[in-house]
């Protein structure tokens, strides 16, 4: 009796929480327990997780509006990233430094994000139902197109153009003079002086909280409500007098803008800007993170973003140190690939989402 009950409870847990997420949470807990045993310093690990979280959370947040409006997982996030990169490089080109460059970068990125998002949204409205595959390749095409642009736009600032020829931007450049750590150093809590290797990037976390609250609030307004309804049942929304295409377009623009801000936040934490093919690599972690957080192809919440980012980034940061210490082999990269892509495959095959 007791056993049956427990079994029942367990299967219910799997149903509500999802088996993959359960495994990942369990694995992460295992890593945290093993960390001190293998001799790695737990506070350092926490610092790493906090840092990675603060770099990535906004990119993951960029998934939310599009999922809400029924556009599926935003595999087209490279578009937003490109807008962000344009904003960032233009701000530097214009000679801004320090925190000001970050503000200007966001301001400069905004029109690009609206432009890209608008075009992208109009496209997605014409191909309802096939968004994800097209989005993936729109992202790829845009990134490869911008590869050409980075070489051709006449940037002049010597700290970002190629060292020898002076033509075209560098692959990677440091942001120390510009917006590196402008958020994370704000109100930073550093416990190193008292002997604990814990650093909390308060400013970044506050900024993320600000955006998250903004999104949360947006979904409590009239337009936000309409967006959720469009995602939940477009026929219902249309019958209720909603202009479905416009709402979807708005969600795409919002997602794209968040992607732009997201990459700038990422760069300020990372301290370097990566151009050319780098935007390819930002999509999968973001998609995987939100899915691990419990979102599905057409439902996502702010909670999913936070939990998912912590779980995924925890996994990414903890595995190298802990597992390497355990079996003296660095399998972290492989585990990251398997987990992130496996999660997406799992989400795509779940029947409930296609039920509409």
């Amino acid at each position: 009796m007791d056993k049956a009950e427990r079994q029942n409870w367990f299967s219910q847990l799997i149903n509500t929480y999802g088996l993959p997420r359960l495994i990942i949470t369990g694995f992460l807990l295992f890593l945290f327990i093993m960390a001190p045993i293998t001799g790695s310093d737990l506070p350092t690990q926490f610092t790493n997780v906090f840092n990675r979280f603060s770099w990535n959370a906004v990119l993951v947040l960029a998934m939310v509006p599009m999922i809400h409006s029924g556009c599926g997982l935003n595999f087209g996030i490279p578009l937003g990233v490109l807008a962000g990169l344009l904003g960032g490089t233009l701000a530097i080109e214009m000679g801004f430094t320090g925190p000001m460059s970050f503000v200007v970068a966001i301001l400069m990125a905004t029109p690009f994000a609206i432009l890209f998002g608008g075009g992208y949204g109009a496209l997605l409205n014409r191909i309802k139902g096939g968004e994800m595959m097209v989005a993936t390749y729109v992202g790829f095409s845009a990134v490869s197109f911008m590869c050409i642009m980075w070489l051709m736009i006449p940037y002049k600032n010597p700290s970002i153009v190629m060292a020898y020829t002076g033509v075209g931007l560098r692959n990677v450049f440091a942001l120390d003079k510009f917006y590196a750590n402008v958020l994370s150093d704000f109100l930073k809590i550093d416990l190193n002086p008292i002997g604990i290797n814990l650093v909390i990037p308060t400013g970044s976390l506050l900024f993320i909280a600000l955006l998250a609250v903004g999104i949360w609030a947006f979904f409590h307004t009239k337009t936000g409500t309409a967006m959720t309804a469009v995602g939940s049942n477009p026929a219902f929304a249309r019958a209720s007098g909603i202009n479905v295409d416009r709402v979807r377009m708005l969600s795409v623009i919002l997602s794209t803008w968040l992607g732009a801000v997201g990459v700038l936040v990422y760069q300020q934490g990372f301290g370097f800007a990566q151009l050319y093919t780098a935007p390819y690599n930002l999509t999968m972690p973001a998609v995987a993170a939100i899915l691990i957080g419990g979102a599905s192809v057409n439902k996502a919440s702010i909670g999913n973003v936070i939990i998912g980012t912590i779980l995924f980034q925890g996994l990414v940061t903890m595995t190298p140190t802990v597992i390497t210490a355990l079996i003296h082999t660095d399998v972290s990269e492989v585990i990251r690939i398997i987990v992130s892509n496996g999660m997406v495959v799992y989400a795509l095959t779940r029947k409930t989402e296609g039920a509409k």
Binding site: R126, F140, S144, I148, M152, T329, V331, V334, I337, T349
Partner: protein, 372 residues
């Protein structure tokens, strides 16, 4: 009558937009690149021998209505694992190639079975699923190749193994079987090397595909591809038929990858397969295929056009802009762009087909209404 003719011309243009664009690109870029005709021809013939088999493996899933099989990479990985074993056992030349092909079959079939089952769970989303599965399996592949081989799976030869004792070196050297198929019976004609045996193999595969279309299974696949519900109502086992089509495609892709790699002569262990799917799909689409329709003719035309562009674009780009990198990026952009365009046109067409039916009905009623 006249109107109808115009309409057809427009239709032709729309349906063949991609090949036409490519012909234009090639015609413009070729003189700029400054290559000699025989060099270009040689390159194209080599690349045809190298790639056609892989691309042909895409045809069967398209027939079964499962779209472009992004999961073909799975077969490529199976082929690579087979090649690693064969290299380790030091079996060279044509016997090595044949053995690798045989070894790849069970692996490809297993991966194809998994991929097919997953696709059946995500009907209507096969392409994105296949695309994600190939990344997922890449992870598993790396796990096997970098960590399990040499530690659990025996790898004898030190030239294959990493110095640390397990895992495979970053590059697998196939120099002892390099071009062994291509050189067999090869003919040199005016400086163009024609790999007869490879072409014979490709010819056999084409015959197989043509024959396959005429079998019961082929007919079932076509039926399933067009309307799953009708096929099911007629008693065809839809899921099974779809899985078989993916398995065949994966096995063929495994063979294709082995042929491809024996031509190149070595391969980067972890990444050799990663771009294969994209280039093959792009080439097929360039040949005028679409997501739901592709023929052997599309494959040949596609390979020729796509690879001509691939060869001439960097040079031509460099000649125009003075920066070789731009040509390099340009051809990547074009490959992605072609796939994007094909996917967009496919989705739009799917939607237009639906709304057009409605418009016709409305028109008929309007006329009927006026009469009444």
């Amino acid at each position: 009558m006249k109107m109808k003719k115009n309409f057809n011309g427009f239709d032709f243009l729309q349906n063949n937009l991609v090949p036409l664009m490519f012909i234009i690109i090639c015609v413009i870029c070729y003189p700029l690149s400054g290559f000699s005709p025989s060099y270009l021809l040689n390159e194209i013939v080599t690349r045809m021998g190298r790639n056609i088999f892989l691309i042909l493996s895409l045809l069967i899933p398209i027939m079964a209505g499962m779209g472009l099989n992004f999961g073909m990479t799975l077969g490529a990985m199976a082929g690579q694992i087979a090649l690693i074993f064969v290299t380790d056992w030091q079996i060279w030349g044509i016997p090595g190639v044949v053995l690798a092909m045989l070894l790849s079959i069970p692996l490809s079939a297993l991966l194809g079975l998994m991929c097919g089952k997953l696709m059946n769970m995500a009907k209507g989303r096969e392409m994105i699923l296949g695309y994600m599965v190939n990344y997922f399996v890449t992870g598993l592949y790396q796990l096997v190749v970098l960590f399990l081989m040499g530690s659990i799976i025996p790898i004898i030869h030190a030239s294959v193994r990493l110095p640390r004792g397990f895992g495979i070196r970053t590059t697998v050297n196939l120099s002892n079987m390099r071009q062994c198929l291509d050189n067999q019976w090869a003919i040199l004609y005016k400086g163009v090397k024609i790999p007869i045996l490879t072409f014979v193999i490709i010819g056999l595969l084409c015959l197989f595909i043509i024959w396959f279309r005429r079998t019961k299974l082929g007919q079932d696949m076509r039926a399933v591809g067009q309307d799953m519900d009708v096929a099911r109502a007629a008693g065809i086992n839809v899921d099974r038929t779809r899985i078989i089509s993916i398995i065949i495609s994966t096995v063929l892709a495994g063979f294709g990858q082995i042929i491809y790699l024996q031509n190149i002569g070595n391969f980067p262990t972890c990444t050799a397969h990663s771009q294969i799917g994209m280039f093959c799909i792009a080439a097929l689409l360039v040949g005028g295929a679409s997501v739901e329709k592709a023929s052997i003719g599309n494959v040949f035309l596609g390979v020729i056009l796509f690879h001509t562009m691939f060869i001439v674009a960097p040079k031509a780009g460099g000649a125009i802009t003075g920066n070789a990198m731009i040509g390099e990026y340009f051809r990547v952009f074009v490959s992605y762009g072609v796939i994007t365009l094909a996917l967009i046109m496919y989705e739009i067409k799917k939607r237009r087909a639906r709304s057009q039916g409605g418009q016709l009905l409305a028109q008929a009623q309007k006329e009927g209404g006026v009469q009444a």
